[in-house]
């Protein structure tokens, strides 16, 4: 089985989003947004309710569940020392509103999102990309420039960072825009195999105990 690789420019076109299949590898070049904060996701929902302005217009863009150590120097220049993914399933409750509300075409992090999110993604032409957990050195190397930091009053990894990246990756397509989710597939398969695996364990155990 060979793996398809895509070298993509952001923002993604409709066609390039639909072209991605679960298990494909992707490198991204262009502008991304990142945050690892649960309070940030709550605050984004409040923005959609009109309680506050969004720090950035992310329409058609990519918002990833990545934490970063970001800094603003005295001359106002911005930098990021390292980035790395956080667990996306923590945001299962937020993403079905945030994906259409912010107009996201791409999201991602690690560990995937649930079936309700996958349905929202299929309806809105959005994909989920899996980042390597413990991939900070590789992912940080993809940063070209930090172009904005939203909500700087929050702690570093909760802020929304706008970053220009060059060949960020490789990232794995975990959920495609057709409703296919590697996470649902593997989870379903594991549940299906459970009885068979337990039976094998039982016979192996009887073998050693005989």
């Amino acid at each position: 089985m060979s793996v398809t690789e895509h070298d993509l420019k952001l923002p993604l076109t409709d066609e390039s989003v639909r072209d991605l299949k679960v298990g494909d590898f992707v490198y991204l070049t262009g502008e991304i947004f990142t945050t690892a904060g649960l309070p940030t996701h709550d605050r984004l929902l409040k923005c959609l309710d009109g309680e506050e302005d969004l720090p950035f217009d992310m329409t058609g863009g990519a918002l990833f569940h990545l934490g970063s150590l970001n800094e603003e120097a005295e001359d106002g220049s911005l930098s990021i020392i390292y980035i790395n993914p956080t667990t996306s399933t923590r945001f299962n409750g937020h993403m079905p509103r945030l994906i259409p509300g912010l107009g996201l075409r791409v999201t991602g992090g690690k560990g995937g999102l649930d079936a309700a999110c996958a349905r929202t993604m299929a309806e809105n032409g959005c994909v989920y990309l899996s980042f390597l957990g413990g991939g900070a050195p590789i992912l940080t190397a993809g940063i070209r420039k930090v172009t904005g930091i939203g909500w700087p009053e929050m702690i570093s990894h909760y802020r929304i960072a706008r970053i220009e990246v060059e060949r960020l990756g490789p990232l794995t397509v975990g959920i495609d825009a057709h409703g296919n989710s590697i996470y649902d597939q593997t989870s379903d398969l594991a549940h299906d195999k459970r009885a068979e695996i337990l039976a094998e364990m039982n016979s192996a155990r009887e073998g050693t105990q005989a």
Binding site: K110, S130, L132, G134, T186, A190, R194, L198, E200
Partner: protein, 289 residues
């Protein structure tokens, strides 16, 4: 000559820093071995990427993962070690020095569970446990930074006179529940028996056991082999995107107890953060992992 406060401070600071930067050799060896047997191409490439990330972190002298978690230390005091130190104060001091001086800086991950406020310090930080080693003339400290990624999937259940089948079914179900979430391939630590609190400690310590070391107890060795095969048969794979490699090993230990039997399961993600030092009164410090 005794082991001093300065040595404890240096050990506390340096161990945490090392654990964040270096994937232990046994973990790298196990991942490299898994690449040879993994049949899923996406999974093989993810394993390869993990090794590359570990290598790059060492080369650039930076963190493998941005989430430094919170600090936990395991202290073992040799019965023949000569001491002139205040362990609790010096470990706290060592962690403070680390936070103030480490490069690159840490993110604020220490969380107050009541207010959810996050910072570098908090009540009872660092988490330290103490033990003794009969006959040893050294002090050993092991650091295991722990974060949400793999930490949140730990579980403990209490059974009464359970069969091995019941115990192993529970362990498998904990693995199914954790699924794709804990940055696989992981090490699963399992504790069986003892008391509620002791059992959790047994499981945790098993995640820190060297990978690939066969359990000297033949019953446990067979159990570990069965469980490793079973969990890998589930198919979650590296980073949960499918494959044959979900665990690098399942490590099991037990303690005698009563008819109620706690079973605890916890996980260490693929980077297996742990660093260890042994210290002697003559000033020697031997670092490992």
């Amino acid at each position: 000559m005794p082991i001093t406060d300065d040595m404890i401070i240096e050990a506390t600071k340096e161990l945490y820093s090392r654990a964040l930067r270096k994937v232990p050799e046994d973990a790298k060896t196990a991942i490299a071995a898994a690449m040879q047997t993994e049949t899923n191409e996406t999974a093989r490439r993810t394993l390869e990427l993990q090794l590359k990330s570990a290598e790059l972190a060492e080369k650039k002298d930076t963190f493998v993962c941005s989430d430094s978690g919170f600090p936990t230390y395991f202290v073992k005091v040799g019965s023949k070690a000569e001491l002139d130190c205040d362990f609790k104060a010096s470990i706290r001091k060592g962690y403070e020095v680390l936070v103030d001086t480490i490069q690159p800086p840490l993110l604020k991950h220490v969380t107050n569970p009541i207010t959810l406020e996050r910072g570098y310090h908090g009540k009872d930080m660092p988490i330290v446990s103490y033990d003794f080693e009969s006959g040893a003339d050294y002090v050993e400290i092991l650091c295991s930074p722990k974060a949400l990624g793999s930490g949140r999937w730990a579980a403990l259940e209490l059974f009464t006179f359970p069969s091995l089948e019941t115990i192993e079914t529970y362990i498998l179900d904990v693995a199914i529940k954790a699924g794709a979430q804990h940055c696989p391939p992981v090490i699963m630590g399992v504790g069986i028996g003892g008391s509620f609190d002791h059992c959790a400690g047994l499981a945790k310590k098993q995640t820190l056991r060297p990978i690939g070391q066969k359990n000297p107890d033949p019953t446990l060795a067979a159990m570990e082999e069965r469980l490793t095969k079973a969990v890998n048969g589930l198919g979650f794979g590296p980073m949960g995107t499918g494959g044959d490699t979900t665990v690098l090993g399942v490590h099991v230990d037990f303690s005698s107890g009563h008819g109620f039997t706690p079973v605890a399961v916890c996980f260490n993600c693929w980077i297996n953060r742990r660093a260890r030092v042994r210290m002697w009164g003559d000033g020697r410090m031997e670092w490992s992992e």
